[in-house]
């Protein structure tokens, strides 16, 4: 009897995860937050129960690769990958507390490559299973909520308190909350600005094709300026502006800080905003518009009842790109004193404290994922409403 690998994606993930567990550290223990630590593999750090659980779930996932494709196999893969993710998180918490129990207070336990790779493989395996099950947005939301609440429960129970990144968070708690709020504000305002400018500009480009060349040329050039350079370039004109019109300074406008950050973020977001608006509107079936005109819909009715709803999926895809991009770029804005999660990243880089960098980077990634997911949900709901 020949054995065939039916799910190559899952097989690759199992192999990568397996190699990571065997060959790299699950956590690392350092004498203090600035020194690099010793890698400790899963079976030493997490104890036998975690190791056995990981091995068993890994074996189930491996078996699922060889199973004849079926709903049951996909569900089995989904559930075991979900459990694996939980076990990995629980093992990280448990190993850090047991390691810290016998160490000096200044010692730090950081998460190692095996943790990150295993968690990533588990998440990808779940995504793959959902894809194969052709799961709707409802099922996806359910899975995300159950995973998030599982990890949330572990966190609320103090499972991760001994981890270095959590201790960094404890030290910087108030600053962290402010930075997170500032980050979301930067993203929110710049996305709103980009939509407010980019949407009308996109409509104008479709209505007047002659504008297309110049508008896209300028936006493309803006997009190619490195972000740090653009933040820097704005300092000079804004400082000059405030020097010339001093009362602007009372509004908080200046060469550094939030103002140049938002301007730069808006400029970066304009290209995808304009491009998706114009592509979305240009992609609307000409025949529908011709028929609408011929039946006596006026311009406003054609725009609101036909063009806009039909272009909406592309417009929302644009909003997704703009938001996710802004979350990432806003990290760099910390360099010109705009605050946000980038503060931790650059402080951490300066101090060579990797866990402080992560304290900035991880929430930024999470923020981007959440924004992406929320827009996907909205998109799916609207698609149901306007099912073509």
């Amino acid at each position: 009897m020949s054995v065939a690998i039916h799910n190559q994606v899952l097989f690759a993930l199992v192999i990568v995860g397996g190699v990571a567990v065997v060959a790299s550290g699950f956590v690392s223990l350092a004498p203090n937050r600035l020194m690099s630590g010793n890698a400790i593999p899963l079976w030493e750090a997490g104890g036998s129960s975690a190791s056995i659980a990981v091995a068993v779930l890994g074996a189930i996932l491996l078996a699922a690769c060889f199973a004849v494709p079926s709903q049951a196999a996909c569900y089995a893969a989904l559930v075991s990958a979900g459990l694996l993710l939980m076990v990995v998180f629980a093992a990280a918490g448990q190993s850090s507390s047991s390691l810290m129990a016998g160490a000096k207070p200044a010692a730090r336990v950081s998460l190692g490559p095996a943790f990150w790779i295993l968690a990533a493989c588990a998440i990808l395996a779940m995504t793959d299973a959902l894809q194969r099950l052709a799961a709707g947005i409802g099922a996806r939301v359910l899975v995300v909520i159950s995973i998030a609440s599982g990890i949330g429960l572990l966190a609320a129970g103090g499972a991760f308190d001994a981890l270095s990144i959590v201790r960094e968070y404890r030290t910087h708690r108030q600053v962290f909350v402010n930075a997170l709020v500032r980050h979301m504000m930067l993203v929110g305002i710049s996305v709103a600005g980009a939509v407010a400018i980019g949407f009308p500009l996109g409509v104008a480009v479709v209505r007047r094709p002659r504008l297309q060349g110049p508008v896209f040329t300028i936006l493309n050039i803006l997009q190619t300026i490195p972000s740090i350079a653009l933040f820097g370039l704005l300092i000079v004109p804004l400082s000059a502006l405030v020097a010339a019109v001093p009362w602007l300074a009372t509004l908080g406008i200046g060469g550094i800080g939030v103002t140049p950050a938002i301007i730069a973020l808006v400029l970066y977001a304009l290209l995808p905003a304009v491009r998706n608006t114009s592509a979305g509107l240009a992609g609307v079936d000409r025949a529908a518009i011709d028929a609408g005109r011929g039946m006596g819909l006026n311009r406003r009715q054609i725009f609101w009842q036909l063009e806009l709803p039909l272009a909406l999926p592309v417009l929302l895809a644009g909003l997704r790109i703009v938001t996710v991009q802004a979350v990432g770029l806003a990290v760099v804005a910390a360099l010109i004193g705009a605050g946000g999660l980038g503060t931790f990243v650059f402080d951490g880089l300066g101090q060579y404290a990797v866990d402080l960098v992560l304290l900035g980077a991880l929430p930024a990634i999470l923020l981007a994922l959440v924004a992406d997911f929320v827009i996907q949900i909205v998109s799916a709901l609207l698609r149901q409403r306007f099912a073509p």
Partner: protein, 307 residues
Amino acid sequence: MIEIINVTKRYAGRSVVDGLSLTIPTGGFCVLLGSSGCGKSTTLKMINRLIATDSGTVRIAGEDVNSMPAEVLRRRIGYAIQAIGLFPHWTVDDNIATVPRLLKWQQARIRDRVTELLELFRLDPVIYRSKYPHQLSGGEQQRVGVARALAADPELLLMDEPFAAVDPITRDALQAELARIHGATNKTIVFVTHDVEEALRLATQIAIMHEGRIAQLGQPLEILENPASDFVCDFVSGQGLGLRLLSVRKVADRLRAGETAEGEPVPVETSLREALSEMITRRTNRLPVQGPDGRDLGAITLTDFVR
């Protein structure tokens, strides 16, 4: 009645429609026939002002089309196009209800009207009402497109090659349906096509267009029998004038009243083309003929075709 009086349209100095005049009586089925670029579609679109005239006048029931806002005019005129242009995000029900909603009809009246139209086009309202356009076949989509054009019971229906993109069998069925509906509702229809067979089958009046002008205007038979120019002659009788004449003439034109024949009778309004086809398949040279009421009227023989 539609009066098109000395209408001209130029693009970049070239006349697409050149001093064209045409009168279409109420209840008429006028086909604008010609090859691409002859100005037939432009002429049609100048009636509902999708294209503005450079000079000349278009009147509907004595009223100049420019005397009212374009949207008001268009809501009074049904409009169906080759690409159909159903709104993909709306159900069949919503699509058909477009113009009645623009005219702010009552909900109940709109609902009844949609039901009535779906039944007229032999689409079961229970099944089709809530479907989306992408769930329909090409023929069903075009039926819904024409139903949508008729929704507000317009006095005039403009159709721009509506059946050009459907397969021959569906086209045949749609033509039969349109002829039936024209007969039942007595609407004025202006229909653009490049298909000679289609024009001969549907029209009460054909305007053959060439280079922005009318090359000949007349009833189908008139045009076939007395083409006004070599152009018209070449255009309408491209492949076999004789067979074209057979499709336009009816059995009634060649009936031997009172005579009898063996076999299943053919209806008197059958075209000579179909009657000939019957004779060939039945291997006979004589067919009995029956009136619409089922009464025997007489017979037709093979020699009658060349009489």
